[in-house]
Structures are given as structure tokens and as C-alpha cells.
């Protein structure tokens, strides 16, 4: 997928923006992705993230979701399912192919 075509980088149409949130509880911990907040401005996004994670965090980072280049991920494009005939047999030559 071309990076500019990645749907995870598309802006929302309601004028709000999504910000990915990264969190670390202790300074020795790695930064960890803890989801994203959607807000009309950075200030509101920061406020939301602080409300959700602030009490325990040593650090919070916010990054606009549409600025992140993502390589890899979950391939959602489902393989075609193999049709099943009335007896329950499949057309698949490979018996390992499940119909369910």
C-alpha cells in the first residue's frame, strides 16, 4: 500500500483529528502505545489524554495519527472461503483448507 493511501492516515471529516497516545509509568519503562484520542485541537487532545492516563504516568506523548507512517500491520483482506457442496465436501484439493 502506498503510504499516502493508508486509510489509517486519513483525516476525519468532522474537523477533528486523531492523536496516538504513548505512555510510560516509570522512567525505566519503555513508551507504550495506549490507543488514541480524537479531538478538535491539540489542547483538547492533551486534556483528554491526561484525564485518561495522567494520574499514573511519568510521560505521555501524543502524535497526530495522520503523521505516523505505519509499515506492516494486520492483513484484513480475507482469503476467499472455499464453497461447500451439499454433502459437506469442499472443492479444495488441499484437505488442510478449512471451510469454516
Amino acid at each position: 500500500m502506498d503510504r499516502d493511501d493508508d486509510p489509517r492516515r486519513k483525516a476525519r471529516i468532522d474537523g477533528s483529528r486523531q492523536w496516538e497516545v504513548f505512555y510510560r509509568e516509570q522512567s525505566a519503562d519503555p513508551m507504550r502505545h495506549v490507543g488514541g484520542v480524537t479531538a478538535p485541537s491539540l489542547d483538547i487532545a492533551v486534556e483528554q489524554a491526561r484525564t485518561l492516563f495522567g494520574d499514573d504516568s511519568e510521560s505521555l506523548w501524543l502524535c497526530p495519527a495522520d503523521e505516523i507512517v505505519r509499515l506492516g500491520g494486520n492483513n484484513l483482506r480475507a482469503p476467499e472461503r472455499t464453497p461447500v457442496d451439499a454433502t459437506g465436501a469442499t472443492d479444495a484439493a488441499d484437505p488442510e483448507v478449512s471451510t469454516e
Binding site: K10, A11, G73, R77
Partner: protein
Amino acid sequence: MISISKLLCGRSAEGDGLRYDDPDENYDQIREEKQKRPVVVWNTTRRCNLYCEHCYAGADLDPAQGELSTAEAKGLIDDLAAYDVPVLLFSGGEPLVREDLVELVEYATDAGIRAVLSTNGTLITEEKAAALRDAGLSYAGVSVDGLRERNDRFRGKDGAFDAAVRGIENCLSVGLKTGLRYTITEHNAADMEDVVDLLYDVGVDRFCFYHLDYGGRGGDIADADLDDAAQRRAVRRLFDMTREYHDAGEDIETLLVGNYADSAYVVEYAADELGQEHADEIHRYLRVNGGDPTGERVADVDYRGDVHLTQFWQSYSLGNVRDRPFGDIWDDESNPLLAKLREREEHLTGKCVTCQYQDVCRGSSRLRALAATGELFGPDPQCYLTPEERGVSAEPAD
């Protein structure tokens, strides 16, 4: 989801209601084991042909970027099936604006997931209803929020009420189980009973009442939420109406969603009206699988693949199914917010701390608490229980 008819009217040990919007009569409503996998609401699209005042998804007439394609939607369904998700609620926006809806319902059914639909009903022709039935759809919940004039004003379109009723009739005419979805606000609480009577005459026998949650455009009309006294009146009227229908031999199903103070109130009501033994039985049942399901028994995937704690809480996402399979996101309790929500009893503050019904309410909506107080674990502003009902002699200082 609290099945009032089944708790109050003698079908309390069987049925379905705790399965989110799933009316399958063969499934235990009040089970002896806690539900292990969430019912998933999927906002199939952000597009809608109406513009409702309370829409939690902020749906719009224009198409949105980044919607899951047909192939991606099938991949999502495969992920959900692999995670043993029991029910997939096709929602929106308006799911019927997606041309592949029937194909996806059939795909989910073939994958072993029970498919149910949340719709405004206005686009359901008899042919479409038959196609959805043939695809394996188990249930269609149609939103109507008042009698004709009030509903159309609320939904932003003249004729929406009549079109929704036609859609309901089309579903019923092809044998597709169909019910009402009704969000209660101060604008339409007075219409509840008339809408039930009208739709019962049409053939509807399942009525699902939602309390307003403060997500999306619902947050913009929070001041239209019922006050405590009006909440109590509306909920009590629903209890009474349910019993009146059943006493007349008309076996309607009524459910309440979104304010788990209702769990406590139904126990209190049963103690007053039906006796302590019946009330204790209801309380025991609700303990098993009751209370707010956010982040546990209900999940949401939006039109872009973002996973939310509940469909109403669209402003925060746990992750995206284009990055990780749904089950990996849902099981990742290294996310401190998700972990805290799943042990929320340890974090609730204010009047929830000492409430004797915390076990069947669990603090109710965290989203409403956040919107109203800025405190994630503060009291839900919709809690209408009195100190006596909560089992305390006076309000604690918050």
C-alpha cells in the same frame, strides 16, 4: 441491557437479554457464568440518510474516508469469529447505505456469528428485508424516538417516522424478528407509552429503551437528559406498563440499556410490588452478568477499524484492527485504562463507594461521569437512587 419483562414477569431464568440486542430465545439471558467474549457493535459506515440530534457516531450525509472495504470487513469478521465473538451488531451511520450489507451479514452468519442490525428503518424495503432474512440476520432493531412530529424533528427529516414504521412492517411481513430502539430524553419521555401501543398494534413485541449517553452529538444535548425525578418516573412507568401488558396476556419484551441504576431500581421495585423473595432472586441474577458492560461485555469497532470501549465512547480508541487483530487489542491489559476499567470497583469514587448496589451497577457509565465531572471514576450523573436505596443514611462528601 436489562430485560425488564423477564425479570418482572416470570421468564426470569431464561431468554436472551444480556446479549447485546440479541433476541435469541434459545440463549440464556441470565446465566450462571459471566459472559466471556464481548458482543461487538460495528459501525459499518459513518454515512446516514438522517441527521439525528443524539447520534453518538456523529453520522453525516457525506461519505467518510477510510471506511473498511468489503474485503477488509470480511477480514474483520474472520478475526471476530476466531476470537469467538458471539454477536455482531451491524450499526452505523445507517448500515443500509452500505451496498454490501447483505453479503456481510451472510459472511458473519456463515462464520458462526449471530448477526443483528441497528437501523433507522427508513431504507428497509420488503425485498431488502427478505434478503437480510435469507442472509441469516437474526434481528433488526429499528430506532424511533417519539411519535411522528417529535421523531421527525429529532431525526432531522420529515417523513422519517412513517418510513421507519413501513420498514418495521416490511421486516415483520417477511418474518424477520424486529424491535424498537428508543432513546429517552426530556423531549420524548411523554411519548414512550403511545409509541409502544402504536408499534404493538403493528406487530412489534420487543421494546428496547436507551438512556442518553454523552458521546458524539449525544454530548451536545446532555442538557436534554432527564433529571432524577423524571428518570424514576419513566423507568417505573416502563415497569408498570410491562406488567400491565403481561397481565393482559400480551407477552411483550421490554429492555433498558445504558443506566445501571436501573438494575438497583428494578430490585427495589420488585421488593415493593412482588415480594422480597422475587427481589432477591432478581438481585442474584443481576450479580452474575449485570452492570455496565463497557470494555468487557460490549466492544465497538468503528467504520475506520478503530476499537472502542463501547459504541458511545468514540473519542477514545484502544487501537485499530488494521494494525492488530481485534482479540489482541481487546486482551491487551498492558493498557492501564483497559485494566482499570475491568477492575473498576477498586477505583470508583463518591457515592458509588458505599452503594449497596455497586455489584449490579458497577458505577454505570464512565463516559457520562467523565463528560459531567471530568473524573473517570466519579459518579454517573444519571444515578437517581436515593441514599436509602443505596443503603446509606446520608450523602458522603465527594
